[in-house]
């Protein structure tokens, strides 16, 4: 496949790995922000190929993982409501709410449908004028334009039976939150390439300056990740802290302006709770008042408060890179993909699931989880 195979070439990978090895002189901790990057690092076995000086930690960039519990509960509540068709991206279905997951609601008779695009939900709304269609609009800046576009389409079509349950989160405030945590010890970030393809990377300049950290816009294929790591290591070794763009084939400094215009036509920035973390100021989107008819929470007057998380789940520390998934006492025991305590064990992009699925026996310290003491 053009533009994929080139970025999976083992010869090129070897060369970059050699250059990383030649460049690195001391230990560095690098966080890949996006769950898609975590997935790719683990799936391709890259973590085990890196020199031991480089520790990769997995960031909060998994939309499934950070969607707050009360929104899952709201989704379940709406799904179980008479006449509602609840539409969602696939991997939201297994995420446990405080009562149940959407998949369990579906098993109980709720009409829950897996879609690939919010625009499909528009079609379903047109085909089912006597039903209410709710799309669970989850994601980072990447999925925001399509969700906003769905609202604009619905308005243009005069649809009265379509709404969004919004849980949008933003990357820059999350990075700031991670850096301000006293327990975190991140030296550099690989920024989420797809988020930057929409938003550009100008908004990261203040972060590089404030925390004196390198931030590298990075893609998702093995060569992208290795190159991103090399760029970060070079900056660290040379004492630079800049925003650099590895993912030049998809990302420009200013981003996708028409997409941004659509986002800000429909959404405005708001405070947002991140599951496993806390409320982060200005870290999410909500639907503007002028599109309130398309806001499912307002439309159905959903009043569900934040429920108590399972205390055994250390997802927050894992997503801030304070501990590794296998350092959580519940990992692989009480918490497995079949029976997840927290969201990072659900999505294939979640750090816990990625470790569970792909690399649980490749590092000797993972073989006996009992010997590992959690830092918390």
């Amino acid at each position: 496949m053009k533009y994929l195979n080139e970025f999976r070439n083992s010869e090129i990978a070897k060369n970059i790995l050699n250059e990383i090895k030649k460049t690195v002189t001391r230990p560095w901790t690098i966080m890949e922000v996006c769950g898609g990057q975590t997935h790719s690092l683990v799936k391709n076995g890259i973590l085990d190929m890196l020199p031991k000086e480089i520790a990769m930690v997995h960031g909060p960039g998994c939309p499934v993982c950070v969607t707050p519990l009360h929104l899952i509960d709201k989704a379940v509540y709406l799904a179980e409501k008479e006449g509602v068709i609840m539409c969602s991206f696939g991997d939201m279905l297994r995420v446990p709410g405080s009562r149940k997951s959407l998949l369990e609601a579906k098993a109980g008779g709720a009409d829950v449908r897996i879609l690939y695009s919010p625009l499909e939900a528009i079609r379903i709304a047109q085909q089912n004028p006597d039903r209410e269609v709710v799309f669970f609009a989850v994601g980072f800046e990447t999925t925001a334009p399509a969700n906003a576009l769905a609202v604009l389409h619905a308005k243009k079509l005069g649809l009265k039976n379509f709404s969004l349950l919004v849980s949008h989160v933003l990357v820059p405030p999350a990075i700031e939150n991670v850096m301000e945590d006293v327990d975190s010890h991140i030296d550099a970030f690989l920024l989420a390439g797809h988020v930057c393809s929409i938003m550009g990377y100008w908004e990261y300049y203040p972060l590089a300056e404030k925390f004196k950290i390198p931030l590298i816009v990075t893609g998702f294929e093995p060569i992208d990740l290795l190159q991103g790591i090399l760029m970060a290591v070079k900056q660290l070794e040379e004492g630079r802290y800049e925003v650099e763009n590895q993912y030049t084939r998809a990302v420009t400094e200013e981003g996708n302006i028409p997409a941004q215009e659509i986002i800000f036509e429909v959404f405005e920035v708001t405070d947002q709770v991140w599951r496993g973390m806390e409320l982060i100021p200005n870290s999410g989107y909500k639907i503007k008042d002028k599109y309130a008819d398309f806001d499912a929470v307002k439309k159905f007057k959903v009043d569900i408060q934040e429920a108590e998380e399972n205390q055994k789940c250390l997802a927050g520390e894992i997503m801030k890179g304070i501990i590794k998934p296998y350092q959580c006492p519940a990992f692989g025991k009480e918490c497995t993909p079949e029976n997840p305590l927290g969201a990072p064990m659900v999505s294939s992009e979640g750090a816990c699931a990625a470790y569970y699925h792909f690399s649980d026996m490749l590092r000797p310290e993972m073989l006996d989880l009992n010997k590992i003491k959690s830092k918390s």
Partner: protein, 350 residues
């Protein structure tokens, strides 16, 4: 897609009712109308002609016996329909035991309201698939359930077949050093179903790989006999599930090589786009063989002569290391665990 099965003949049905109703399953006149005009007409053979409660068969020696129920949405999909799937699925399961499939039972559970034209089309494809596989449908049953109590049509088939005289298929015979062979490219069935179910369109149509494997299995057993230790067809759960089950069952490890996994480019592209892993995707016309190392290359060469197995490849080998686990060498030179899947694969957000 290459190897597309040619369309089989399906004349116009001879029914004077448009849809199947509860009355067609009640055992009375309408049932007879449905059976005479449909099942008995299309699947005619000496066994069915007796119209008895069951079939009287003559079997000698070791016999393979397998049953499977087919529930699929949509019932018609690119490259096939539930009818041929129900025949091929059971035929293949019997073949995987080293059996030569001979007889099938066939049971329908029909949701009322199914257009009789659809039922007819499914029957035609059953007839065609049974003829291609060389099996007889010797007994069966038809029930109709209330609207909403089923999903258009469910089919159960059970198959019987004599064990090939040279076959000695048993997971207990698997040893370290044995080679793992995959018979053809994978994941096409899963993606074909998904594309219809989710209304996805691709530049090239991706078709299900549903086909019978009994003839190629027989040819392999004729030629390589007991040097073949194990056959399985990776249907639901895909190749990863079969390999994990085999590793756990034998207490041995399995090493596979990522580069050797045959996947059609268009299927690979669809999997990339949807965030699905071909290793966990269902197949309906592929088998895995575990064989003595010395015959592996010869067998792959032999398989390449047959269009149904034109992309056969040595996927990896059995090892005494990491018992119960499947490891994959990635294209990049790293290694990762190939886990047992948990539930259905769910497409990722981004």
């Amino acid at each position: 897609m290459k190897n597309k099965k040619t369309e089989f003949p399906c004349p116009e049905p001879d029914f004077d009712f448009p849809v199947i109703t509860l009355a067609h399953g009640s055992g009375g006149k309408l049932t007879n109308k449905l059976l005479d005009g449909g099942v008995f007409k299309r699947l005619k053979n000496d066994f069915l002609d007796l119209r008895h409660d069951g079939a009287i068969l003559h079997l000698e020696g070791q016999t393979a016996f397998s049953t499977d129920s087919f529930v699929i949405n949509p019932v018609f999909f690119p490259g096939g329909n539930i009818g041929e799937l129900a025949v091929n699925g059971t035929v293949n399961d019997v073949a995987m035991c080293g059996g030569i499939p001979q007889y099938l039972s066939l049971s329908f559970i029909i949701e009322e309201g199914l257009p009789v034209k659809d039922f007819w089309k499914i029957l035609c494809s059953i007839e065609h698939a049974a003829r291609e596989a060389g099996v007889f449908v010797v007994t069966g049953d038809t029930k109709v359930v209330d609207k909403g109590k089923g999903d258009k049509i469910f089919i159960n088939t059970t198959g019987l077949g004599k064990i090939h005289p040279k076959a000695n298929i048993s997971p207990n015979r698997i040893e370290p050093g044995d080679k793992i062979i995959l018979s053809n490219h994978i994941a096409a069935h899963s993606i074909a179903i998904l594309s219809i179910r989710e209304g996805l369109t691709f530049e090239t149509e991706i078709e299900s790989d549903t086909t019978n494997l009994n003839h190629v299995i027989k040819d392999l057993l004729d030629k390589f006999g007991a040097d073949i230790k194990f056959f399985r067809d990776p249907t639901r759960g895909g190749v990863a599930t079969v390999l994990n089950e085999t590793a756990q069952q034998t207490g041995l490890g399995i090493d596979i090589i990522s580069e050797n996994i045959p996947v059609l480019p268009q299927v690979k592209a669809a999997c990339e786009m949807l965030g699905l892993d071909p290793l966990y995707s269902a197949n309906e016309g592929v088998f895995i063989a575990i064989v003595k190392p010395e015959i592996a290359d010869k067998m792959v060469h032999f398989l390449h002569q047959n269009p149904k197995t034109a992309k056969a490849a040595v996927l990896g080998e059995v090892t005494a290391d990491h018992p119960g686990k499947v490891l994959m060498n990635t294209t990049l030179g790293g290694r990762r665990v190939v886990h047992m899947p948990v539930g259905e694969q769910l497409p990722r957000i981004c």
